[in-house]
Structures are given as structure tokens and as C-alpha cells.
Amino acid sequence: MNDGSMLPLIELRAVSKSYRKGGERIDAIAGIDLVVEERGMVAIVGPSGSGKSTLMHLVGAMDRPTSGEIGVGGHMVNRLSPRELTQFRRRTVGFVFQMFNLVPNLTALENVALPMEFNGVARAERADRASSLLGQFGLGQRLRHLPRELSGGEMQRVAIARAVANAPRLILADEPTGNLDSRSGQMIYELLQQISRERTVMVVTHAQDLANLANRVIHIRDGRLQDRPPSVAALRRGQESAPAQPSS
């Protein structure tokens, strides 16, 4: 990955995504240009229906844009073949979902080991790395627990461990604290901030606390980026486009 430190991690050029519903066209993303540097936390904020999730899905190659170019970590995501897309999802990006999305009949350890298994990591190494990650995230005593035996905050920590298992350069988290109480949410913020020291964490949030921890805040409305952040708090932190060291 010799290109990583030189080039921006994410680059969007005139990206649009529209849906057709009945005869009506909805522009969920309407011509976005965006550059995000390697490392640090980027918060995406905006009203409901403004296109935050759609943007995340496009960047994470879960969905394809209607038009425009998307580059992530040196891959032109919108042009990848299905096989290359699978490789991209394994190596370059990790997802954290609002609903955790753990595999219900696998233990915490097995859930974390899963992406490594897909990526061809040897069994012993998977187990080692998964248990050390879970230990780091304060779940050393929960390795053999099934998701239903864990609290929401614990499940989300397992999910974050799973997302970073293959050491991707980008973590995407869409409202990761949306289903958590504020105390558990706080723990997740700190964890995301911690992992953003080594990689880029892009997080959609309605929680001001989480946005406050971000190095950069991107405002989106009606599928467009907003030049002027609407709040003073966001103004203070959100205008920088260069990566900054997070304060801990």
C-alpha cells in the first residue's frame, strides 16, 4: 500500500444516486464531490432523508452510483468486477451497522473471526487476533458468548472488532449508537475514536457528542454537501479538510 499516505483515501467526483419510485425520481445523492484523507474520524450529519446512508453505501461499495466516479484506497469502486468487489469488501472497508448484524448462532469470537476466514487467514491466527481484539475492547470474558447473551453495547463492540478484523483502511459506521442508551453510546464513541488513530472512520450520527469528537464534520442536505455548516459547534471543528490528530 505505498500509495496510501500520498493520495487521499476517498475521492468522489460528481457522484449521483437516484431512485425511481413510481414515475417519480428521487435524487438521494445529487452530484457530490468529496475528498477524505487517510486516518481520523469524519462525522456525516444532516436531516433525515438527506442521503447520509446512501453516501455510506456508495463509498463502501454496497451500492453503485447512478453516475460519477468513486475512488477508495486506490480502487475505482464503481468499476470493480464482482470478484474485485468481494476483495474490496474483505480488505479495504469494514462496516459497523446500527443493528449490529452479528451472526446469531456464532459466538463473539467466531463473529470476529468470520471476515478473516473469508480473507483466507489461517485458523489459529484468526482465533488469536479475534480474542486479542475482543480483549482490547473489554470483552475478554465474553469470547464464547452468543450475541443474544450480550448487551447492546457489547454486541456493538463485537461488531466493531469484526469490522477492524482484517485491518481495513476505512471503517464505515451508520448510526452506530442509534440503538444504544447514552452510556453504551459513549463507550462506542470512544472506541471509534480510538480506532480512528490508525485508519479513517466515517460515521453517520445524529448524536452531537459523537460529532464533537470528529476531526471533520460533513453536512449534507437534500443529497448535496453544504458549504456552510449550520451550527457554531460544528463550525469550530468541521472546516478542516486535512487530517488532524484526534484529541483523547
Partner: protein, 418 residues
């Protein structure tokens, strides 16, 4: 992914049991039909060997019925002895036949034979001794006695019920006539009915078997006989014996070589084979349908999980392998369940299955065979192999549509309805 697929098998115990049951039933059906198949084939082999070693002699150009107009010429009295001396002949059985009118224009057949001789049915005698359904068969002690066993249909006409057996009598009147039967000036005789038999065949059930000496004294015939059945020690010697018969009694007798019988049994077993084949096919189709719905249901139910797996890096091929593994494992478990049920219930159920499902399609006189059918419920290596391969094939074919749906699931499915 194979491991993940296997882990998914016991995920829902109720589902697992239901599927094992739903797949087990067709497997059971398949195994039952197969064992019917085997039993019939075994039976046919015996039958073919037996029937094909018996030749029949009749007076030249005559049916040999003592009172049938134009057909009453009989075989000379010395024929049985001459025949018995021929090499490779193991048994000689003499029959005497007379027709008797019942409710016009029908008639029944009275047969005189040694009490222990095989009671062959007129024109469909291949199957041999019919089944006694009331009373008893004739025994050597009955020789010369005024006793008889009667076919079910004849008994019904004569109003003899099973409970009357042993007491009921039947009047034989040789003087009665019919368009094809001439009257004989002989007195009426009452025979005590000691048994009722059933052949399942209408005409076969319109017969009366009496000891041959009794027959002679009723109809006033001498030592001549209607038919002689000659049993040869093996199929290989039938042709030689037929030649020797030509040489010794060919001048007075027509010799019927058992070709027809062989053809007939072959046809019958082919019918059975075809039916069991269709049944087997039906069983496999049932399995495929069960797998089809199970896999489709699972793909729908786990769409979110599948989307998640794809989003975190599972390839389409990997997810397909996972689901195929699960389907094959479920089908194999269902197969194992079917095997267990077959082991314990196979024998009983197969009999009924045969009687209800296949019996109606067979020539009716074959039905008495059901009773003697020995159906195996052993689980041999070949049975195991059949079940396993059928399960695997059904699982793969049955999953194909679900697999196609699986491939189409987008990773976005992971975040739907958030």
C-alpha cells in the same frame, strides 16, 4: 463455509424435526417401493422357475372335459405311468375335469385330483395353490371321500358361507345340461364342503376341487384322465423331456410346453417394476419439493444475514456453498430418519402399500401372492448408498432456485428496515 452451513443445521430444532419428517417420508416411500420391487422379483423368479418346469398333456385335439360337447376325449389310462418313467420327470399329477351349469348361461368347473396335488386354476393356473380363506385344504385322508373345497365365487352362488364350512353340502348333478354341456345319466351326489378358497380371479373362484376317485364315481369315468401335469427337475431339461413325451405319448396327446406362462410372469413383473419406478420418481420429486421450499424459506428468512455476510466479505460462491451444505445435511438427516422408520415399520407398511397401491394394477389372480410376499426391511450397503445419493441429488436440484435467489441478494439487504 461448509462449517458455517453445518452450524446452521441445528439452528432451529422444530424446523429440523419438521424437515427430517418431510424428507423422511419420501425416503421411506422410496425404500418401501424398492423392497416391494425386490420381493416381486424374487417371487417372479420362483414362479418362473416353477411354472416353466411343468408341461401339460391333453388328449389330442380335445379340451378333455368329460361332459363338454365335442371336447370330451380323454387321455388313455396308461399315460401317467408312461410319463413317470421318463428321465428327469419328478412329478406327475392327473386331473379330471367336468363342467357344470350354474345360473345360465354360466358354468363352473369341477376338478378331480389327488388331494395333495397342486390345485391349479383353470386357464390361469400359473400361480398354483390358491389361498384357503375358510376351513381347510384337502388332505390325503380325503381320498375317495365325498368332500370338496370350493372357490369363493362358486360358494357365493351356492349360498355357502364361511361359517357353514364343514357342515354345508353341495349337490352335484351330472344330468344337468347347458349349451356346451351334455347331460350324463348319473345320480346326484352330495359333497361336504370342507374349505373355501380365494384366488382373486373371478373364473378361478368358480371351481370345485374333489378327490379324483370321488370324481370318477360321480361321473362314472374309468381310469382315463383329462390332463396330466408333468414336472421336470429343471428348466434346462424341459426341452428334452418334451421330446421324450412326443416319442412316447405324442400319438395320443397334445403337449403344452410352458412358454406362455413365462411370458405372462415377465409381463407382470414388468408392470410392477414400472409402478415402483414411478413411485420412486414421485418420492424423489417430493423430496425436491420439500428442499425447494425449505431453502427458499431460509433464503427469505435470512436475507439480512446473507446481506451482512456479503457486506463483510463473503463471496457469492461461499454463501452458495454454505446453503448447499445445509441443504445436503438436512436431506441426509431426513434420509436417516426415513431409514430408521423403514427399519421399524417397513415390513408392515410395505405390505399395505403393495396391496393398496400396486395390487389394483396387477392381474387379479396375483393378489393371493401378497400374503406370501416376504418384504425385507434390512438396511444394506446398497440401500444406504441409494438413500445418500438420492438425498444429495434432491438437495442440489431442490436448492437451485433458492441458490439463484441467494446470489441476487445485495449486501444492502443488511441495512434494510433500519
Amino acid at each position: 463455509m461448509i462449517r458455517l452451513g453445518l452450524r446452521n443445521v441445528p439452528r432451529n430444532k422444530a424446523r429440523l424435526m419438521l424437515i427430517a419428517f418431510l424428507i423422511g417420508i419420501p425416503v421411506f416411500l422410496l425404500l418401501s417401493l424398492r423392497s416391494v420391487d425386490e420381493a416381486v422379483e424374487r417371487q417372479t423368479t420362483v414362479l418362473t422357475r416353477d411354472v416353466n418346469t411343468v408341461l401339460q398333456l391333453r388328449a389330442k385335439g380335445s379340451m378333455g372335459h368329460v361332459n363338454m360337447i365335442g371336447q370330451d376325449r380323454l387321455l388313455p389310462a396308461d399315460v401317467p405311468e408312461k410319463v413317470a418313467r421318463i428321465e428327469n420327470v419328478v412329478q406327475v399329477e392327473s386331473y379330471l375335469l367336468a363342467m357344470a351349469p350354474i345360473t345360465p348361461p354360466n358354468f363352473v368347473m369341477h376338478v378331480g385330483l389327488a388331494p395333495s396335488a397342486v390345485k391349479r386354476l383353470e386357464s390361469h393356473g400359473e400361480a398354483g395353490n390358491p389361498r384357503i380363506i375358510a376351513g381347510r385344504d384337502l388332505t390325503p385322508e380325503d381320498a375317495g371321500q365325498d368332500v370338496a373345497i370350493i372357490g369363493k365365487g362358486y360358494a357365493a352362488w351356492a349360498a355357502i358361507e364361511p361359517k357353514d364350512v364343514g357342515k354345508a353340502t353341495l349337490a352335484i348333478d351330472p344330468s344337468r345340461t347347458h349349451p356346451a354341456i351334455y347331460g350324463m345319466n348319473r345320480p346326484q351326489r352330495n359333497l361336504r364342503i370342507v374349505g373355501i378358497y380365494a384366488s382373486g380371479y373371478v373364473f378361478g373362484d368358480l371351481q370345485l376341487f374333489v378327490p379324483i376317485d370321488t370324481f370318477r364315481s360321480i361321473y362314472g369315468t374309468d381310469r382315463r384322465v383329462s390332463w396330466v401335469f408333468v414336472r421336470v427337475d429343471s428348466v434346462d431339461n424341459v426341452a428334452t423331456v418334451a421330446q421324450r413325451l412326443h416319442d412316447t405319448v405324442g400319438g395320443v396327446a397334445d403337449i403344452l410346453v410352458p412358454k406362455q406362462a413365462a411370458v405372462f410372469t415377465a409381463t407382470t413383473s414388468r408392470t410392477v417394476l414400472r409402478l415402483t419406478f414411478l413411485g420412486g420418481l414421485l418420492a424423489i420429486v417430493l423430496m425436491i419439493i420439500v428442499v425447494f421450499f425449505v431453502v427458499l424459506m431460509q433464503v427469505r428468512e435470512r436475507a439480512r444475514e446473507i446481506g451482512t455476510l456479503k457486506a463483510i466479505g463473503a463471496s457469492n460462491g461461499g454463501v452458495v456453498v454454505q446453503f448447499l451444505t445445509e441443504a445436503v445435511a438436512l436431506a441426509l438427516l431426513g434420509g436417516a430418519f426415513g431409514l430408521v422408520v423403514f427399519r421399524f415399520l417397513g415390513d408392515a407398511v410395505t405390505r399395505h402399500l403393495f396391496a393398496l397401491g400396486i395390487g389394483p394394477f396387477l392381474p387379479s389372480h396375483y393378489r393371493p401372492l401378497f400374503a406370501s410376499l416376504s418384504v425385507g426391511s434390512e438396511i444394506s450397503a446398497s440401500v444406504l448408498l441409494i438413500v445418500m445419493s438420492v438425498a444429495v441429488v434432491a438437495a442440489i436440484i431442490g436448492s437451485s432456485y433458492g441458490v439463484w435467489q441467494l446470489i441476487k441478494i445485495s449486501p444492502l439487504e443488511a441495512v434494510k428496515h433500519e
